[in-house]
Amino acid sequence: MTTLIHNVILIDPEAGTETPGALVLRDGAIAERLPAAPESLERFAEVVDGGGRHLAPGIVDWGVKVSEPGERHKESFRTAGLSAAAGGVTTIVTRPDTAPAIDTPEILEFVARRAAQDSPVRVLPMAALTKGREGREMTEIAFLRDAGAVAFTDGDRVVEDTRVFGRALTYAKGLGALVVSHVQDPGLSRGAVMTSGKFASLRGLPAVSPMAERLGLERDLALAEMTGARLHADQVTTAAALPALARAKAQGLDVTAGVSVHHLTLNDFDVGDYRTFFKLVPPLRQEEDREAAVEALASGLIDVLCSMHTPQDEESKRLPFEAAAPGAVGLETLLPAALRLVHGGRIGLPQLFRALSLNPSRRLGLPTGRLVVGAPADLVLFDLHAPFVLDRWKMRSKSKNTPFDGARLQGRVRGTWVAGHRVWEG
């Protein structure tokens, strides 16, 4: 089947351009890229008029928690996939911090099978780096890679023993496997639920210095240098950590870093009167850190922007702040929230889609994230200016724990294509 999408502005993150044009999709791939619609539309089985809206490579959301196995009442592959499609996310890269952890090829195969059956978007799983995510023994990295694991991580648990982590990195290096680390000093951050500062002090909540992130990052960068392994820091969210990242990149280490959209659009004050939907890992930062992270994303120092989608049911959130479960859902709000940065003049659309689509694809060795002939036809069509007020009960995710409930957002997804098939029409 041949599809034409015309009358759109093509966002090409690779070339860094926004140009009017049209795309022809055939056999799941981009077959032609045209400056405008051809005069005769007869040869197309389907013609989509984009109405002058923006068309970009579909988002690759790196670090999504789908709560299968273990907590399917919070999120399933079906609901996560629908949520992703509605948010313009065409590939979700899942976390292994399920119950049990995804640490054997058998569990990974279960996950892959469930995902293939139920999800309308692509699902690529990450696997645990250590057995049971306990930080003691490494998992079967080669078997897991052969079973489809795209990266290895213990989620937000830091492998505290540097010898264990160093060996896992060395072993991964031998296989060319990518390791994702949560950069945080475990000692300083023990028991903390906020970033230290005047607001945490006013609310009387246990807090951690932002310096704990720099400590964790410096440690992991040193180990990456020692082993030569490929390392991705899941979330770099503080000003103090950024120079270390810049230094490591300048030095030529094979390192990249991500950040969640929440840390770019919210700060510690948003916690307000102990609002547990704003309890995240790492905790929301002070405004200066948020500013620094936005700048680092715009400059390309931070490579990847993601949602860190973490579904939690009402029960786990309706508790005192310290006792509540951390995390927020984000598949559906990733793009509109990120567009706040575009509307605020902080970042251009091609740069934004570098961080949302191109960079994660490149880092994970995927052919997606590009608008070139031959690339997979994974696309998102969105109305940059359409305003709306988010109603969390209308989200497709099983869990409704979004910090953006009632927020005014601008930018709606009108269409999502995965391998040339339309999976969302809004």
Partner: protein
């Protein structure tokens, strides 16, 4: 009436006029109590439930006496033996309570913000925070304020030092907020490990040296240091702490000659305060604080009950509440 709060969850939401209103009423209760007169019947027909998720002797009994003096039916819920131990969540506890229809609920909880959460889920009931985690302990700050006002004749333009474990203290937070609202000069004295980060943003002066911190102050407010924090975790030892931050005659000599000494209790004699100073009737107002505690809690419950009755009255008339 210049007191508009449905609950007393903290000092933060209070207006200075509300604080003054409450203290004025507490003053009259203090006088009545001293004269041995009955408290009155402000809470007659109301049920007061004391729910302490953390052990407490003085605060709980103070609330109990205050409620009884005003004619409330007072019930103490022993949480240690209750369903919380069986895994009931705070919300379920709230729903259970709702069904029992208490009028006044006094809550202490080990987690910051837990009392706010409970208040959000309760209907038709005034909630009093008797201490939540490290967040607030409003009645303690109010009783401290009343004690200061009675001893000094005013509650503004005083220089007040708060000394000790400020980082873990809800008493310190509520006192800082209240004394700041009433336009006093606040000096915080503690080792850096017990000083919360960013506290200078609250308009306090920060000192790590006790003698410097006490220079010329009108009020010295000592805080309790829990013993488990003295074993090298936050300070190296009890004796080093007493040497540097314990209040003795020499250190007190740096304060104004008529400075008063306060302590929220229970005291660790020889750790944060020297026994002879605690017992010095010319300087120490520690016993007065306990006395004012009852009066302040009577006033707080009286005002909240008035607002509760007014709200119920409007609801009965079918007005929107």
């Amino acid at each position: 009436m210049p007191f508009h709060q449905p609950h007393l969850l903290g000092i933060e939401p209070l207006h200075p006029v509300e604080i003054t209103t409450l203290l004025d009423l507490a003053d009259t209760y203090a006088e009545r109590n001293r004269k041995g007169l009955p408290g009155g019947d402000a809470l007659r027909g109301l049920t007061q439930v004391n729910m302490f998720f953390e052990p407490s002797t003085r605060t709980q009994s103070s609330f109990e006496i205050a409620g009884k003096k005003l004619g409330a039916e007072v019930m103490n819920m022993g949480i240690a033996a209750s369903s919380v131990k069986k895994g009931e969540t705070l919300i379920d506890t709230a729903l259970t309570l709702n069904a029992m229809r208490p009028d006044l609920l006094v809550v202490r909880h080990p987690m910051s913000g837990a009392v706010d959460l409970l208040a959000q889920k309760l209907q038709n009931c005034a909630v009093l925070n008797a201490g939540d985690g490290r967040h607030e302990h409003p009645t303690q700050a109010l009783l401290d304020a009343l004690t200061i006002r009675r001893a000094k004749g005013r509650l503004h333009r005083l220089s007040i030092a708060i000394c000790g474990d400020i980082a873990h203290s809800r008493v310190a937070r509520s006192n800082i907020l209240l004394l700041h609202k009433m336009e006093n000069r606040i000096r915080l004295v503690a080792p850096p490990t017990l000083m919360p980060p960013g506290i200078d943003a609250f308009g306090c002066e920060v000192f790590h040296d006790m003698e410097e911190g006490l220079q010329g102050v009108d009020v010295v407010m000592m805080l309790r240091l829990q013993r488990e924090r003295m074993d090298g975790g936050f300070v190296p030892s009890e004796r080093e702490y007493f040497h540097r931050y314990g209040l003795d005659a020499e250190k007190l000599g740096h304060a104004a000659p008529d400075a008063i000494v306060m302590h929220p209790g229970p005291m660790n004699r020889g750790v944060e305060i020297d026994g002879t100073i605690a017992d010095d009737i010319n300087r120490s107002v520690i016993q007065t604080q306990v006395e004012m505690g009852v009066a302040v809690r009577m006033a707080a419950m009286d005002l909240l009950a008035q607002n509760l009755r007014a709200t119920r009255g409007r609801a009965a008339l079918g007005e929107e509440v």
